[in-house]
């Protein structure tokens, strides 16, 4: 679990984040959403320690990350995996070497065991027969998957994804979203995702934090977001007429007024139990 307490960050005279607090739970996909310049990337960089907040605290399982000394921070960072917007793969290394890098650096495993682990995570992200390729030879989606494999190779407790779908087609975006969700549940990771992809919000957003001009404007789940009355949030999410119509349709589905695959089980009494429904708490 990661707790963000009253974080404030300024660059010169400009306040980029103002008094933001949130709790990111384990085994969940926690999404930070907001328009460009709303401070979501800065917030994430504060959380991982790339920026030092001017005020407030970041707690990793109750340990205050912001006030730790460099050595203790390094120990926490070993439990963090991060997927960067541009994948941030090492250009001079092959896919296999990229994924093996954290193992080379932080374990004394024999090469055979390291290779097994590398192939295991590459299979997990559905990337086979790409071990010998260099990043320049990969597509955008493949790069993201390699970066995801590298991020999880050491079994991290925390996974940060900065705009994982940027530059990807909708279909590949869905694949990446699905992978992030599955890995989060499978390894019980506290996952934090920066995004403004509405598909991601609706598909994987267990907890959503909406940032507006550096402030926390709204928080809730992907179910609650449909019924939110927050005007700024609605303006941001349902920016087009198409999305507004989709929202109306989704509301009708959620309230059971029209059936679809999402609520048929609920209506027929085969509720899987993991769907939040309005009026049921």
């Amino acid at each position: 679990m990661i707790e963000v307490k009253n974080i404030q960050k300024k660059f010169g005279d400009k306040t980029v984040i103002q008094d933001v607090s949130a709790v990111m739970k384990a085994g969940q996909c926690n999404l930070i959403i907001g328009a460009s310049g709303s401070g979501k990337t800065v917030l994430m960089k504060c959380m991982v320690g790339l920026f030092v907040p001017d005020e407030g605290e970041i707690l990793y399982h109750g340990q205050n990350f912001t006030s730790m000394d460099a050595k203790a921070k390094t120990e926490v960072r070993k439990e963090i995996g991060m997927l960067f917007q541009g994948a941030a793969l090492f250009d001079s290394l092959t896919v296999e070497q990229n994924v093996m890098f954290p193992l080379d650096m932080f374990t004394n495993w024999p090469v055979k065991k390291k290779l097994e682990r590398v192939n295991e995570v590459l299979n997990r992200v559905n990337l086979v027969e790409a071990n010998r390729k260099y990043p320049a030879e990969l597509s955008g989606g493949m790069k993201k998957r390699v970066a995801l494999a590298r991020a999880i190779v050491l079994n991290p407790k925390y996974l940060f994804c900065d705009e994982p779908n940027s530059g990807l087609d909708p279909q590949t975006s869905l694949v990446i979203d699905k992978l992030i969700k599955e890995i989060t549940i499978e390894y019980n990771i506290t996952t934090v995702v920066n995004t403004h992809d509405m598909n991601s919000v609706m598909e994987i957003g267990d907890y959503i934090l909406y940032m507006y001009q550096g402030n926390k404007e709204w928080e809730g789940t992907n179910r609650e977001i449909i019924f939110s009355k927050n005007q700024r949030l609605n303006d941001f999410i349902f920016a087009s007429e198409f999305l507004k119509d989709a929202k109306d349709m989704r509301m009708l589905e959620e309230t059971g007024q029209i059936p679809n695959h999402r609520n048929m089980d609920i209506l027929t009494g085969n509720d899987p139990g993991n769907i939040h429904r309005p009026g049921k708490g």
Partner: protein, 245 residues
């Protein structure tokens, strides 16, 4: 004010390099890689420049020494001392500032812009220690070796040119090399090469490591790194000559 803050950041960067390596083997591997890049990668250009500098020195010295009272072996003495004292350490290091320095700046700049340095930081790796320290250590090892090679090849180039142009025979040249030889000159040249090696590796590393922006800024940082390194080398050359000669 910018120059003072840059010097401060440069010193903090140097201080930040010194920490216990996360994995000694990986640091060693990176050090060896940098030795190959800086040393072997620059050997060709250093060899070519050295031979021609020695050759040109012999011809130009002979052109200026027209008096019959001066023995031809003096040409060899002048070429030897010029190559050892100035051409091998200073000129070669200025060329290396362009070859190795720009490579270091652009490599680190590219890693910064593409968030590779951030990725290493997130993993809990001291990026200054892992990325900059091996470069400086490799430069401190390889550049003095390159300078020694440059001295040998420069003097040999002078001998070759002297014989080919019928200025002086090989035996006269060899005799001249042994006359009035001061071993301290070699030590002085090596001291200079160590100082220049530190400049060539650390200054471009600073400009590359702290680059902000995109591809254009990487190019600018690379150019600036070479220019500042060359100026620093010339300044250090003057200071060391004034202090040690």
């Amino acid at each position: 004010m910018t120059i003072f803050s840059d010097i401060g950041r440069y010193l903090l960067m140097i201080k930040g390099m010194f920490s216990k390596p996360e994995n000694g083997k990986m640091y060693w591997k990176e050090f060896m890689h940098q030795c190959a890049e800086i040393g072997v990668g620059s050997l060709g250009i250093v060899a070519i420049i050295s031979v021609f500098i020695g050759a040109v020195s012999t011809i130009q010295t002979a052109y200026q020494l027209v008096s019959p009272l001066i023995p031809p072996s003096t040409i060899a003495q002048i070429v030897r001392d010029t190559v050892i004292l100035e051409f091998a350490p200073t000129l070669v290091c200025i060329v290396l500032a362009g070859v190795a320095g720009s490579r270091i700046a652009s490599e680190l700049g590219n890693m910064r812009v593409s968030e590779q340095i951030d990725a290493l930081e997130i993993m809990g790796i001291n990026t200054k220690g892992y990325l900059i320290m091996p470069k400086i250590a490799a430069a401190l090892l390889m550049i003095p070796l390159l300078v020694i090679i440059a001295m040998v090849l420069g003097i040999w180039g002078g001998r070759l040119a002297g014989a080919m142009a019928n200025i002086l025979s090989g035996s006269v040249y060899d005799r001249g090399l042994l006359e009035n030889f001061v071993p301290y000159n070699v030590i002085f040249a090596l001291i200079k090469s160590y100082v220049f090696a530190f400049i060539i590796s650390s200054v471009p590393a600073f400009f590359g490591y702290f680059v902000q922006g995109g591809a254009l800024e990487i190019g600018r940082a690379s150019t600036k790194a070479v220019v500042v390194s060359c100026i620093a080398i010339l300044f250090a050359d003057y200071v060391l000559s004034a202090l040690l000669l």
